[in-house]
Symmetry: C2
């Protein structure tokens, strides 16, 4: 139990709502790091919960978020974003005293606003938004891994009036499973992920669509495989992400379209020095980021 | 020697001009598959040639393309595209009777036109353009691998009047190192690779540049790592690629910009059904391509 701090060790029951790749991996990671309390899986489909239990991700199951709210010390929302409002509404009337909430949602401004709107004020202050930036294009508890979160960044979007104990508990949760914590406002988070995750996802989807409609897949190789990997992600999850981060995504698409136009102009005008300068800056910047983040060595896909 | 057909087994000397990642890997692959003739490395810097020889990629070296032309049965151009014209000019006056030429250039229309322009007609018909679609973002003979080409596509852009024996020899070369051959006109090749390689490269570079200038790298994770991997490629190589495939790249950028505009509109108008449809089509298309090409299992980066 050396990996868990006092706050986590004291918990009797952690509930994970949504036991897919992320929720399942969190259960496995907690267990592997010595969490001795109950891990309650919450979901709408008993079959999915049973699969997650078979894979050792959880040890109890329920299809009733209200029951999880009554019996748990900490609830982690790990369902697609579109279901958060409904689940928060089901949790609110049943919350045990001192219940702490966190989530894995890929966008944060709307989620944090929903928590304030749907939860009683004291409970809303114990909702600590989180975005563990880990994942892969596969889903379901079958692909869950206790090491999914190791070395990856986790953004914590605590509001200024957040409950201090809840914040400490949630930060120790994500830290315990190996993540690097970064605090940010929900709005700043949403702008950052629009740039480094949502826009890249849209581009990957459009690249696949272009090659499918105009040809070229027969000669595509490892470069195309990697640049488009995220396009194999869950359409439902990604539809929710784009929808709940629409404003930031539109801004980032506009900024990117302008840059693509500048690139087109460089090429059209045969401005080779400026082209070389751009290619060099991007290589230098990415190489430095890779060296710092050490993403190369984790081997995670 | 079971991996090599009669044509390749009969060669006394293969010259590889440019002994970096691709040239070096070709040397290693030929040797590993039982090629018993000489492998002559040709380059401008003796130090690079010496490193390639130390890594077992080649067994002889010269800095004179003319010597390679006199003494070899087959020459493979594996330098950056910008140097092809100069090298073809140095080869032309010294070519041994029956010399066959191929290359690894990432664009083909300009290269094939250069071969026609700079080589005597009979030798030009023995220049068989090739684009082995293998690589990684690392370069130099230190990173060469005998398996770099295995299972990857190799486009052969033979002109209608190509010498039949030369075509057979070049196809057996790339086939011997494990590649899947695809014949295509140089123009068709350039349009395909603009879609599945050059545009994705430009997008990756611009994604890195956007995140560097506006922020977000601190929360970027494995998705960003993979979508931008190619941006760590050699700026000199990529400047040559964009420059020599300018026309096709401009067309593909325009087609993509239009699609990005449509995506923006979907998002702005909150057309969730159309968004879901696009995300599903891309996932289905990519998953089918991955399953067919089996790129997932090769583990190549």
């Amino acid at each position: 139990m050396s990996g868990l701090d006092t706050g986590l060790r004291g918990l009797k029951r952690v509930a994970i709502v949504g036991t897919g790749l992320l929720g399942g991996s969190l259960g496995l990671a907690l267990r592997q790091r010595g969490f001795a309390g109950h891990i309650l899986g919450v979901g709408r489909r008993q079959a999915t919960l049973d699969r997650a239990r078979q894979h050792g991700c959880i040890d109890e199951t329920t299809t009733d978020p209200g029951q999880a709210a009554r019996d748990s010390d900490l609830i982690v929302l790990a369902t697609p974003l579109g279901s958060f409002g409904r689940i928060l509404g089901e949790i609110a009337p049943h919350a045990a005293p001192g219940l702490v909430l966190t989530d894995v949602g890929s966008t944060k401004a709307l989620v944090c606003a929903d928590a304030r709107r749907l939860l009683p004020p004291a409970l809303a202050r114990r909702f600590i938004g989180a975005h563990p930036m880990a994942g892969k294009e596969l889903h379901g508890p079958e692909h869950a891994s206790p090491d999914l979160f190791v070395n990856a960044p986790c953004v914590i979007t605590a509001e200024p009036d957040a409950d201090a104990q809840a914040l400490t508990l949630v930060e120790s949760l994500w830290s315990a499973v190996g993540m690097r914590l970064i605090r940010m406002s929900p709005q700043m988070h949403d702008q950052c992920v629009a740039r480094i995750s949502h826009l890249p996802h849209a581009l990957a989807v459009l690249l696949v669509e272009l090659a499918m409609s105009q040809g070229g897949l027969e000669v595509a190789s490892t470069g195309f495989r990697d640049t488009t990997r995220v396009a194999s992600g869950d359409p439902e999850v990604w539809s929710d992400i784009f929808t709940t981060n629409r404003g930031a995504c539109l801004e980032v698409i506009d900024a990117f379209t302008a840059r693509l136009g500048q690139f087109r102009q460089l090429l059209d005008q045969q401005d080779t020095p400026a082209l070389m300068d751009l290619l060099r800056r991007a290589k230098t910047g990415r190489d430095a980021w890779i060296a710092k983040a050490n993403h190369c060595d984790t081997g995670k896909r």
